[in-house]
């Protein structure tokens, strides 16, 4: 059964230095509040997994939380580069960042394998692509029936998965809707999980076959309104496209980035304090 707790306690209890951490949300429902809290608690040496690192991992990487990134598309969507990611890869600042690069289809399948408790996934992919030359986790396997050669990729099994969802009930059952991404698979593939939600309600009033994570597959549920901003929460608020564009400038310069992190995250108590600082 999920414990309903504060985000600060959840991150303190469940995420340890050196952990393999997946924080998913495909443009939608990106768990920014949780990312900030990891920075605030100065977690170190994390292996970060995310299909699209987005600003959330740009912040974690620039703040020195990560030693390795596993990803499949590393841009600022609709804007351009992730400058902190590039600086870490190209100039080892603030510390070297190992990267392990996949395609979307690969990581999506790898999460499915993890959720299914299989050691690997089979997919038709990567033929002719040069990524497997630089990523030895991508292998091939022959179909025992047809002889066809297919790609084989190892399952993702994070120590901790962190996601944001729209709702939970008081027992900790979680409901999400809209663009679902790989969040269900990421939670089910992980040893532990933290879910931040927009609100905790008496009754989810979920429609048939809604995407629900039962309380007993989640460790901690934390109520954090706006916890996905500047990404969005379908039914609650829109994507803050202005912030995504502003990030390009903030993150371009090391000093400006560091000052931003200091003022907005390190010196704030929690996500609502961050929001007040951001609002000026």
């Amino acid at each position: 059964m999920a414990k309903i707790t504060t985000l600060s306690d959840a991150v303190r209890d469940l995420i340890h230095d050196g952990d393999i951490v997946a924080m998913e949300g495909f443009t939608h429902l990106i768990p920014f509040a949780a990312g900030h809290e990891i920075i605030r608690q100065r977690k170190r040496d994390l292996t970060l997994i995310r299909m699209t690192p987005d600003i959330i991992y740009d912040q974690l990487i620039g703040a020195g939380c990560a030693r390795k990134l596993i990803f499949s598309w590393g841009g600022n969507p609709g804007v351009g580069s992730l400058h902190r990611l590039r600086d870490a890869v190209e100039k080892q600042w603030p510390s070297p960042l190992a990267i392990e690069e996949h395609s979307h289809a690969d990581l999506a399948n790898a999460y499915v394998a993890g959720a299914s408790n299989l050691p690997f996934a089979v997919m038709r992919g990567y033929a002719g692509c040069e990524l497997p030359k630089y990523n030895e986790t991508i292998k091939t396997i022959d179909c025992p029936f047809t002889g066809e050669r297919l790609a084989a990729v190892p399952a993702i099994r994070p120590d901790v998965t962190v996601i944001h969802a729209q709702m939970a009930d008081r027992k900790g059952n979680v409901l999400l809707w809209g663009i679902l991404g790989v969040q269900k698979e990421a939670v089910l593939a992980a040893q532990r999980s933290i879910v931040t939600v927009e609100e905790i309600v008496d009754d989810l009033e979920a429609w048939p076959n809604a995407c629900i994570l039962p309380s007993w597959v989640v460790n901690c549920v934390c109520e954090v309104p706006h916890g996905a901003t500047p990404s969005y929460a379908h039914g609650y608020y829109q994507r803050d496209n202005v912030f995504y564009r502003a990030w390009d400038e903030i993150s371009r310069d090391r000093d400006r980035f560091t000052a931003w992190i200091q003022r907005h995250i390190i010196e704030t108590k929690d996500f609502s304090a961050y929001e007040r600082v951001l609002a000026g």
Partner: protein
């Protein structure tokens, strides 16, 4: 029809949109492909089915998405499935007629690089990476590429092969076991290129009005060939331009900036 004022970008987008046939199931990359695909939907191809890798199937967005997972894509879709399902049941499942892609670098066989410029481990420029493109280019029945043309983009040799076009030409793509037929057209702001039926090398089949063969040569990093019957692209119609500009205007109002989808 009277000559209209239009930009080269508009020429490119309109031309790309025309290549999408009505009713086609199209797996859409963000940016230029998404702009062209939605223009097609709003003009000659109202029944085109747009699939985005984040999960929406049959999206009919009111404005152009800034990201591949914008809420408008979900709200206007026939259904929204998980990302694993999109890649497993829909793309790999062989249900996509047209994969619509962009590129950072492209070679004469329409192979695409979106990974790095320079050495992989010591990159000059680190690009975003593969995303959905390797499997889109592999599994879609055919591929359309839309990209602004320059000698930096259209290169003799890719720094990195992210997504296969026609590999080394001839039947090498087929030999490598890729199920789809690969790129059938590359649409740029200067011209339209198509692979030769035998060699699969790209050659220019249509020049946009006012563009010379020399303009194209200068903007191509290899010795580009021209089709014997190389024609001229039809200019955008007033209706196409109005629809595109309305779409981009709605988009900029919604996103709070001059132009989205680029």
């Amino acid at each position: 029809m009277n000559e209209l004022n239009y930009t080269t970008d508009e020429m490119m987008t309109v031309t790309a949109s025309r290549t999408l046939r009505n009713g086609a199931v199209c797996f859409v990359g963000i940016g230029l492909p998404s702009t062209a695909a939605n223009l097609a939907r709003l003009t000659h191809a109202p029944e085109v089915v747009l699939i985005y890798e984040s999960g929406p199937i049959g999206s009919k967005p009111h404005v152009l998405p800034l990201s591949i997972g914008d809420g408008d894509l979900a709200e206007t879709a026939d259904t929204v499935v998980s990302t694993p399902e999109i890649f497993r049941y829909w793309l790999q499942g062989g249900r996509v007629d047209v994969g619509f892609l962009g590129a950072a670098q492209l070679d004469r066989y329409a192979n695409i690089n979106t990974t790095v410029i320079g050495d992989y481990w010591k990159p000059k420029v680190r690009l975003p990476g593969a995303g959905g493109a390797p499997e889109i280019s592999s599994s879609a029945k055919e591929v359309l590429i839309i990209v602004k043309q320059s000698a930096r983009t259209f290169v003799e040799k890719l720094d990195f092969l992210t997504s296969v076009g026609h590999l080394r030409g001839g039947d090498s793509r087929q030999q490598a076991g890729l199920p789809g037929r690969g790129p059938v057209a590359v649409i740029t702001d200067l011209c339209v290129m198509e692979p030769d039926a035998q060699t699969k090398e790209l050659h220019v089949t249509r020049l946009h009005p006012g563009v010379t063969q020399d303009d194209v040569r200068k903007a191509t990093g290899w010795e580009i060939k021209f089709s014997a019957e190389c024609g001229t692209t039809e200019v955008p119609t007033a209706s196409e331009l109005t629809t595109l500009r309305d779409l981009q205007h709605r988009t900029s109002v919604a996103h709070g900036r001059t132009s989205a989808g680029k």
